[in-house]
């Protein structure tokens, strides 16, 4: 009987996961469908951009700076063996613009802003604010969810660009100012290696996709959370875990499409 029970448990979990996926997809489409208000009353979106974008600035800038400095230090140690310290600039810039900028900024954004979104919406649901809105004939998806979605989608590429720029600066500080790599070759090697369309624009596209994924997961988890203290805390944890995994998986898929064959 134990086998039957465990089989039943697995089946239940699978059906539940598929169910939630479908509900999540419908939620995403509803968010897009009711996005009109986020632009007609743009102040709503601006307010959310303040909470998810501006408030994440400090962590993004400091993290970017340190990631760039570590890249400069480690890259220098390795490149020194082959006598090609001058390639430090291209190493730092390429790894930041292509991968680390979008991915790390998205991971930080998920844990800094995504978790807050989930907790906020989950609590609004637990305290029946969402139901109250529906009673007043205000669509909660248009009024609460969509502005947060668009704020996240707009903020994410900007945060990733700031992360990369800050990282390049950090690499410059360690490589050129502290270690003493030649400044001219640092920048010129970087410029000859980084292509605007191939590297910078693809990085922006990546961070845009991550922004959509993180905000949709965060908002859906909050909207779907059981209206209890436990439910909200569980949903917040799931947001961070799921969006981190989704970011890394999407990054692999996007990289395979963007940088294949050269």
């Amino acid at each position: 009987m134990a086998i039957v029970r465990s089989l039943r448990g697995i089946g239940n979990r699978v059906v539940n996961a598929v169910w939630r996926t479908g509900y999540g997809a419908r939620f995403f489409l509803m968010t897009l469908f009711y996005s009109g208000m986020s632009f007609r009353r743009f102040r709503l979106t601006v307010r959310e951009m303040f909470f998810s974008g501006v408030m994440s600035l400090i962590i993004i800038l400091v993290a970017g700076m340190f990631v760039g400095m570590v890249l400069g230090l480690q890259g220098y140690e390795t490149l020194k063996r082959y006598g090609s310290e001058s390639a430090l600039g291209s190493l730092v810039a390429l790894s930041l613009v292509r991968e680390l900028g979008p991915v790390l900024a998205a991971l930080l954004f998920a844990s800094r802003a995504g978790s807050a979104m989930t907790a906020e919406i989950g609590l609004m649901k637990a305290t029946e604010q969402i139901d109250a809105m529906e009673l007043m004939a205000v669509n909660p998806i248009a009024r609460v969810v969509a502005p947060r979605f668009w704020a996240g989608v707009i903020s994410m590429p900007l945060l990733a660009a700031l992360f990369s720029a800050m990282g390049v600066f950090g690499g410059y500080v360690v490589g050129v100012v502290l270690i003493g790599v030649d400044e001219g070759s640092f920048w010129s090697q970087m410029q000859s290696a980084v292509d605007f369309q191939h590297d910078v624009l693809n990085g922006v596209i990546k961070s845009f996709v991550f922004g959509v994924a993180v905000t949709v997961i965060a908002l859906f988890e909050g909207y779907d959370a059981p209206p209890t203290a436990e439910g909200v805390s569980g949903a917040t944890t799931r947001t961070v875990v799921q969006s981190s995994l989704v970011i890394l998986m999407l990054d692999f898929i996007l990289t395979a499409f963007m940088f294949r064959g050269d």
């Binding site: 501006v54 903020s155 590429p157 900007l158 990369s164 292509d195 910078v200």
Partner: protein, 153 residues
């Protein structure tokens, strides 16, 4: 509608983000070295282009004068046909040499132009008659081994 400090912060954030993108494009990337000025097209046939890629630079006396736009195999001659766009400000004599060179020992490959002494200049669509292919390291080592075996006899 009235302005709030919140708008100021969000505005500053958006401006900073766009500024970071511009820095990435101009200072980190190569957007500033793209020539937006008028160009004209020239062609050259090489027996081997080695690792030359589209967007590789074309230099004369070390100065960037243009970029490679396309590399295709010309099946009439079974040679690589390289099309390049050259800045209109620079004109080259008809007997200019086009060589595929490497920057540094293992660096990127580019096309170096060595001007000749002809009075007539290359026009749009013309072809470099004198070209030198990329140096392939295996051939070089093969020649070296062959020569050293010869000299021992």
């Amino acid at each position: 509608m009235e302005r709030t400090t919140l708008d100021l912060w969000v505005g500053a954030f958006v401006v900073a983000g766009i500024a970071a993108l511009v820095v990435l494009a101009l200072k980190v990337g190569n957007l500033s070295t793209y020539n937006v000025s008028d160009t004209y097209q020239l062609q050259a046939h090489f027996t081997n282009v080695g690792g030359l890629k589209p967007t590789a630079s074309i230099r004369s006396a070390g100065v960037l004068v243009g970029r490679v736009t396309s590399i295709v195999l010309d099946t009439d001659r079974y040679e690589a046909k390289v099309t390049m766009s050259i800045d209109k400000r620079y004109q080259f004599p008809k007997d200019t040499f086009a060589n595929i060179l490497t920057s540094g020992l293992l660096g990127e490959q580019y096309i170096g132009l060595i001007p000749g002494g002809d009075d007539k200049m290359l026009q749009n669509g013309d072809e470099f008659k004198k070209t030198q292919s990329a140096v392939v390291l295996e051939d070089l080592i093969g020649k070296f081994l062959y020569n050293s075996a010869d000299s021992k006899k």
